[in-house]
């Protein structure tokens, strides 16, 4: 893009048009990307997705999907068996919670104590954003300092007689 001198302003209409066009491109692209893939997920993908939400019991905090312990492999085989028997992801998760308890889920449910885990960050972000907005609004009420003609004369004078 050719450098523009300080005096030349970009044509505001062209500038806005360019930003709007970019906005449209971005929105369309995001919409295309967000559309779900055709077809149903394969068994292997479902095993991967369910097992990535379950905690490996012999490890510290890894999921069953990535752990290489024998119990994790047993879990994956069991999940596969359940998927092939027609259970849904939610049913499988529930079955494991019944046997093991809530701790087997790596992503706590949104009910009970889990509410705090999901809600608190959102609350914090909103409060923080509110704080930032408050700071901005408060400073808007302050008068914007603009140079008066006397100030300009002073500066011009100083420039000529350093």
């Amino acid at each position: 893009m050719p450098a523009r001198g300080p005096g030349e302003a970009v044509n505001p209409r062209a500038r806005n048009g360019s930003w709007i066009a970019l906005g449209l491109v971005v929105i369309v692209t995001l919409w295309v990307a967000a559309r779900p893939e055709p077809g149903t997920p394969s068994v292997r993908d479902r095993v991967r997705s369910v097992s990535s939400e379950l905690r490996c019991v012999d490890c510290q905090s890894q999921s069953v999907a990535v752990s290489s312990t024998s119990s994790a492999r047993a879990f994956r085989a069991d999940i596969r068996r359940r998927i092939e028997a027609g259970e849904s992801n939610a049913e499988i998760r529930r079955a494991y919670v019944e046997t093991y308890g809530e701790f087997i889920l790596l992503k706590p449910a949104g009910s009970g104590l889990g509410v705090f885990l999901w809600a608190l960050p959102v609350v914090v972000v909103l409060m923080g954003a509110g704080g930032v907005a408050l700071v901005l609004a408060r400073s808007r009420r302050q008068p914007r300092l603009t140079a008066t003609e006397d100030d300009e004369a002073l500066v011009a004078d100083a420039r000529e007689h350093p």
């Binding site: 893009m1 450098a3 523009r4 302003a9 970009v10 505001p12 500038r15 360019s18 930003w19 970019l22 491109v25 971005v26 692209t29 995001l30 295309v32 990307a33 967000a34 559309r35 893939e37 990535s52 939400e53 905690r55 510290q60 905090s61 890894q62 999921s63 990535v66 752990s67 290489s68 024998s70 492999r73 308890g101 809530e102 701790f103 087997i104 889920l105 790596l106 992503k107 706590p108 009970g112 104590l113 889990g114 705090f116 885990l117 608190l120 960050p121 914090v124 972000v125 923080g128 954003a129 930032v132 700071v135 901005l136 408060r138 400073s139 302050q142 914007r144 500066v155």
Partner: protein, 680 residues
């Protein structure tokens, strides 16, 4: 004998630190500069004793002196030399000793750097606080974490280090690098407390500690990247970041420190955000202590948590005192901390930095909440809950994208306000580059929304950096009529902080692209193979050739030979393995990785070969992992460039018509007395 020397050194170090504290405190309260100077000299004495203690421990390790319990627990006759030396930080007591050494080193360096201002109350207070912290760590070594305890029965052979710590030479670098980062934040913390204690809460303490903060940040970044590299190359689970409590403990101070590095620029230029910056520095220091507490007290389960001794209560008490005391100090000085400046416009660099801080603070909050939530749930309701990768990924991804966006846009924003024309001129082309990048990735088949946005923002950010560097270099070339290289070097050196920061941003963008690619592309299979059988994963073919068994004094290793091919070309024979150590029970897997420029092939041996010569191997094709390490290197390079700013050559006031410095900025080092701060 070595234990006696070591323990004596620790005891004398404690005494010296206590004496130093007493001297400086008395000197400050009675107005006696000589006493301050004496106290300051004791810093070097403390360092000397710490070096002696470390020397004694290394000597004990190298001579396999198993009469010392720590050596018996972390070393064996068969342990190779490198891991014998690194045994110093193999477990709790030794790590505290290493912490004390690095802290004493930082304190001595700082004392030396400020030697001309030794009697300046703010420097004296900072030295005092530093000595109190080092005194605490020495007290730990005298009490619950004594590295030199002697056992009455001397075992014939030691237990050797944890097998996980013996697998790779990287273990030599990861903890010390991490500690150089953690411990370094003690210095800005001590200066922040000093500023509060003396009431001189202007920008002086920032100027004094800017370099140290950057150095500590650089080391911490390197330590975290090395940890991820080690996790990937050595631990063999196929990833590099598990949101493990200890990984999170190292990330938390990094997040607050990164926020601080940005918001200190707002304070330097506009005098704003004073309370916020003080809080960030104090929080960073507290998080380094909290991180130590979380990993050493046994409160959380993790790869690193190898002790649940009384050290937990000590650390927690210290943390409580620090946090409580700091908050009290800030409340006490609240009047002096009122900021003279105001934010003029939402489209300004100050506002962008505020946004940056909001994002980093939010991310830190999320990581902290997720890490301690299981703890709190158990304490408050007796419920057992897990918080793992799915939670952190869900929360961190939008925040990370917001940070990426700010990183791309902020350098184009001016201080105070930016007009629409300037914004367009600076951001239009990079924004279009970003948009077109998004189109290209979607056309290429990417369907993950987060990945597409990440790639687009990466393109936006890189184009923005290229534009601003290009404009600067071209202008200089035209003005001075010199070649590209010379113009580029001089441009960078004219403002190392800015260009160093831009290089670090490039490193971050590279890492973001690598993360997005890793999460979106790639393939993974686990298969059982007979000898001679092959499997196809991605564009690669893996053939099982046979197994090998190797026995050394240190371990027994079973490995599987796998031939890797792509498109008919043989890329090599790789051998993932499982090792068993005589004193531990389960096997430790070691992956074999073929590192490619854009793709890695990650081979693991999942089950030990049975008698029937069938093995189960894991084959994963990982995308862009090499670029994570390259990005880390670029970040390190950018940090070094930013550190090259030599204060003496920087002009006192910049020749910019719009700049209105709010509050005098102290410049150091100069022996003349400090100017009074207008706002106190």
């Amino acid at each position: 004998m070595k234990a006696t020397i070591g323990f004596l050194a620790i005891a004398l170090g404690t005494a010296s630190a206590a004496l130093g504290v007493a001297n400086i405190a008395m000197g400050l309260f009675r107005g006696r500069p000589d006493q301050i100077r004496t106290g300051r000299r004791l810093v070097f004495i403390v360092l000397a004793f710490t070096i002696v203690a470390v020397g004694a421990m290394e000597w004990a390790l190298l001579t396999h002196d198993f009469s010392i319990e720590y050596v018996a627990d972390n070393n064996a006759r068969a342990t190779p030399l490198l891991f014998t030396i690194t045994g110093l930080w193999a477990s709790l007591e030794g790590s505290i000793l290493l912490w004390a050494l690095i802290l004493a080193g930082y304190l001595a360096f700082t004392a030396h750097r400020f030697r001309h201002r030794a009697t300046d109350p703010r420097v004296a207070w900072a030295t005092l606080v530093g000595l109190i912290v080092v005194l605490f760590f020495f007290a730990l070594m005298l009490g619950p974490a004594n590295p030199f305890t002697v056992s009455t029965t001397v075992p014939l052979d030691g237990a050797g280090p944890n097998p996980l710590l013996q697998n790779h030479p990287l273990m030599a670098f990861h903890p010390p690098m991490l500690y150089l980062g953690y411990v370094g934040f003690t210095i800005p913390f001590s200066f922040a407390i000093a500023a509060l204690a003396t009431g001189r809460v202007g920008e002086g303490w920032l100027a004094d500690t800017r370099r140290t903060t950057l150095v500590a940040w650089g080391f911490l970044t390197a330590g975290i990247i090395l940890g991820a590299w080690w996790s990937y190359e050595v631990l063999g689970w196929g990833g590099f970041w598990a949101w493990d409590p200890v990984e999170n403990a190292s990330l938390l101070p990094w997040l607050t420190a990164t926020a601080f590095i940005h918001s200190l620029m707002v304070q330097e230029r506009r005098g704003m955000l004073r309370v916020w910056n003080l809080s960030l520095v104090i929080a960073t220091f507290c998080l380094t202590i909290l991180g130590t507490f979380l990993t050493r007290s046994g409160v959380l389960n993790s790869v690193h948590a190898f002790s649940d001794s009384a050290i937990g209560s000590w650390l927690l008490t210290f943390l409580g005192l620090v946090a409580g005391g700091s908050i009290a100090l800030i409340a006490w000085r609240a009047d002096a901390l009122r900021a003279p400046g105001r934010i003029d416009s939402a489209v300004s660099r100050e506002a962008a930095f505020l946004g940056n801080n909001l994002a980093f603070a939010a991310l830190a909050f999320v990581v902290l909440l997720g890490t301690v939530f299981p703890l709190l749930a158990e304490a408050l309701r007796g419920e057992q809950l897990s918080v793992g990768e799915p939670y952190f990924d869900t929360m961190a991804t939008p925040i990370g994208l917001a940070i990426l966006f700010l990183m791309a846009a902020a350098p184009a924003l001016g201080w105070r306000a930016t007009s629409g024309e300037v914004l367009t001129r600076r951001l239009m082309v990079p924004a279009w580059v970003g948009g077109l990048t998004m189109v290209v990735t979607v056309v290429a088949g990417t369907r993950s929304l987060a990945a597409v946005v990440a790639f687009g923002l990466a393109g936006f950010a890189l184009a923005g950096v290229a534009r601003s560097v290009g404009v600067g270099v071209r202008a200089r070339r035209r003005a001075d009529e010199e070649g590209w290289v010379r113009a580029a070097t001089r441009t960078v050196m004219s403002n190392p902080r800015l260009y160093g920061g831009l290089v670090v941003h490039v490193g971050v963008v590279i890492i973001a692209v690598a993360l997005a690619s890793f999460a979106t592309f790639g393939a993974k299979r686990e298969v059982r193979l007979e000898r001679g059988e092959s499997v196809d994963v991605g564009s690669y073919t893996v053939t099982f050739l046979g197994t090998d068994l190797e026995r050394t004094a240190q371990k027994t290793t079973k490995s599987a030979r796998l031939r890797l091919e792509r498109g008919g070309d043989v890329l090599g024979v790789y051998a993932p393995s499982i090792s068993t150590f005589p004193n531990a029970n389960s096997g430790i897997g070691t992956p074999s990785v073929r590192t490619g420029l854009f793709e890695d092939v990650y081979l693991t041996l999942v089950s030990s070969p049975s008698e029937s010569e069938r093995v189960t191997v894991g084959v994963a094709v990982n995308s862009m992992v090499l670029w994570l390490w390259i990005g880390g290197g670029v970040m390190a390079a950018g940090t070094i460039v930013a550190l090259l700013a030599v204060r003496a050559h920087e002009p006192r006031t910049r020749a910019r018509p719009a700049a209105a410095p709010a509050g005098p900025v102290d410049d150091t080092p100069s022996p003349r007395p400090e100017p009074a701060e207008a706002t106190v």
